[in-house]
């Protein structure tokens, strides 16, 4: 009995006026509680009809207060609490999902590394086809390359080459049958180079055009030479009989 009804609350709110939001909120909160009590007393009216009732009573007073009362409806509060919890759970789930995904990928790569590490030093099974057989670690490829290089060297061994040459009719070179020729610019065979020398490669790079690097003396001497050449050419052409000039 001592609790105000919704109308009483609205009236009280109206009396207090719209002086401050804090006060209005307190009224709204109290009206929400009274609404709850009213709902219980009414034996479980639906919240929709209850809201309509509030809307009707609030419409007679102020639309702002109706909205405040509607916002503080219990199901909305419950939904907000539940929503917040669910949102938090969803965020945590997403973070966990990312973490799990990254961890799983890292672990998978780690397992792959471990697999190749074992494969490098570990044994291969004779009876079971290796599912990763097409992917060969670099170290095993190096071993294969070394083996192939040795095999190539065996095929190119001097003993084998000599035997093959003799089968093809060749014979060792006789000193008296050699004819020496002088080849200008001939470079004798050099030692094999397996890798570049460690000395740094020095290269001179300039972006300045030659015209910008010539001095005044260079320009004068160049012009003088050009003029002399033209004069000499004119003199020679003037002294040459026309019939001797080849087309």
């Amino acid at each position: 009995m001592n609790r105000p009804t919704n109308n009483a609350v609205n009236v009280a709110a109206r009396k207090s006026g719209m002086a401050g939001l804090e006060h209005t909120n307190q009224i709204g909160e109290r009206s929400s509680r009274s609404q709850n009590s009213t709902t219980q007393r009414n034996g479980g009216n639906s919240s929709r009809s209850h809201t309509r009732g509030m809307a009707r009573s609030s419409a007679a007073t102020s639309p702002v207060r109706v909205r405040l009362a509607d916002d503080r409806a219990p199901w909305r509060v419950q939904m907000q609490v539940a929503g917040s919890i669910l949102l938090g759970l969803v965020v945590m789930a997403v973070v966990a999902l990312f973490y799990l995904n990254v961890s799983a990928k890292t672990a998978a790569l780690g397992r792959q590394i471990q697999f190749y590490t074992v494969r490098l030093d570990g044994p291969h099974r004779v009876t079971v086809d290796d599912p990763e057989g097409t992917i060969i670690p670099i170290e095993e490829i190096d071993i294969q390359i070394a083996g192939l290089r040795a095999r190539l060297a065996e095929l190119n061994s001097l003993e084998r080459i000599e035997r093959r040459a003799q089968e093809m009719g060749f014979k060792p070179l006789d000193a008296n049958s050699i004819v020496y020729l002088r080849v200008p610019g001939y470079q004798p065979r050099k030692a094999i180079r397996l890798a570049p020398e460690p000395a740094p490669q020095v290269a001179t790079i300039t972006n300045v055009l030659p015209a910008y690097r010539s001095t005044l003396i260079d320009a004068v001497s160049q012009g003088w030479s050009s003029m002399v050449n033209k004069v000499m050419a004119a003199v020679i052409s003037a002294g040459t009989p026309a019939e001797q000039v080849q087309p």
Binding site: D142, G147, E159, A175, Y180
Partner: protein, 634 residues
Amino acid sequence: MRRSGSRRFSTQTLEAASRILPFTGHDGESSLRASWRYGLVALFFIGVGFGIVLQILRIQFGEVGQVFREEISSLETVYHTFYPGRGDIYDKNGNLLAGSRQVYEVAIDLYYVRNPQTIATVMATAMKSHIGYDRPEYYFEVLAKASQNPTATANYIVVADYVTEDELSLIKELGASFLYATKAKPNELAPSLAGLVFRPRLQRIYPEKDLASNILGFTDWDGNGLYGLELAYNNLLAGQPFMRVFSIDPLAADQMPKIEKGGDIILTIQREVQAAVEDILDRAVRDSGASAGTIVVMNPKNGEILAMTSSRRIDPNRYYDFPEIINSQLPFNMPFGQTYEPGSVFKVLTMAAALDSGTVTPESTYIDTGYIEIGGIGIYNWNYGAWGEQNMTGCLQHSLNVCMVTLAMKMGPTVFYNYMRAFSIGRTSGMDLAGEPRGRLKNVDDKDWFESDLGTNSFGQGVAVTPIQMMAAISALANDGQMVQPHVVYAYATGGRQYTLQHTPPGSPIKAETARTITEMLAQSLEEEASNSLVEGYRVSGKTGTAQIPTATGYHPSLTNASFVGWGPSDDPQIMVYVWLQEPTSSPWGSVVAAPVFSEVFQRVAVLTNLPPDAVRLQFKNAAARVELSGVTP
């Protein structure tokens, strides 16, 4: 009142509960009871969860957890040492002399073995031609190993090593045929190679077999260098093994760094020259009846060894088949590792010292009586004859011991030994191989030095040198007075870079003029003697040597060391050859057995190194000079 009070309490409680619990039923009392039930269930699960968390924390951080932590710490990491592939050895033209080939280690993983009989049968079949496994007992050995029960410490047993590619292919083929095999009889096991595993590895291989084996040496089964270059450059060739810690935790797995193979070596040796020299030496040893022989070919301008061999050669691929050589007291590389009394080839150093010190000139003469006494002992010429008046060229041409003793006495021990030390006699040559002996040259201050040693040392007796040390000394005569350091390694490549080795000249014991003079004297002496060492088309300089072999009781009465050292072309030496035949039986004299070998080697090496005959070379040289003078660019 009680009832009313109780009722009022219930009502108040209900109202309070309705305010606390948002979801209450229409019936407040029943809803309150339900809420308590829910609360109890919730409290129960919360309690259980809390208990689980407590237990987790207790295990994680309590004493119980310590046991687990200690146990896992021993298992979570695995230490492993990786050994990189051994570097290769090439000749100067890039022919592989020592490399590595792929072989396999075949083992049994006992945890997976299904049928030991099948494994034993297949292994015995596949390895029947492999040395070491071609025994009837091998089948039973494998069977016994495959029949063992696995234990925590022994579940991996090697049954064959250094299995070739062909042998492994055969094993795989046989294994594939058993993949879908069924039991022949109900009480028998199905044939299976399950549990048989293999892993690749590298094995040292020498594709040219015994070619240059004296220089290369070889490695043991584990790839450790034992002789020659393999030993001297073991650290470079083997690379740097590194230890890596592996974690069983996949999240802690890290990419393994690239295993850099050992460094590669490029030799000054030329394969074709080496083969030709070895062929000539084998024939020379056979024809002369020598117990052993040695030939070294060097470029006197820079010390590069073009070929170096001795008659004791083996196939390094099968070094274990030559225990008589491996365990021999004689060095595997004679020209580098064995000292001897060189005899008359040493006279070129005595003459060089006498000329350079101004003691004599080429035209200086003396009367050879065939005998001289020094330090209380008498010295005779090699034929016990007197040669009368001789100039210095005659001394060399006739290899007169008395003449050399006379020169040494004129120089005096101080000057003579100073020159010999300048020639690095009695010291190592510094050649880039392992285990070089020092040689022996007495000093005047030594307690065991007598005046007679001056006389015997002057013609190459009583001193001990290796052929390489002699070549290093005599290179001063062929290189304008400057000695060179003999070496077999031209360059090495490691870490993606190639490093060409630069060798500092050991010194200049004589003047350039002296070197040219004695080279000319030696060329004349060979020509006037019509020596067997003369080379058609090339003017060469050289000196024979015949030295008695010292024994525990004095010099051997008949056995000798026959030597010859020569170089050419005399006007521009590019090839120096040292020949040493040990205890030849066809003739004891170096001029008979060693000189022709020099001629043949020089001729062959000149062809293989594109050194034209003197006439052609001088013609080209003159033509080039004319072109240079005329300024015409060809």
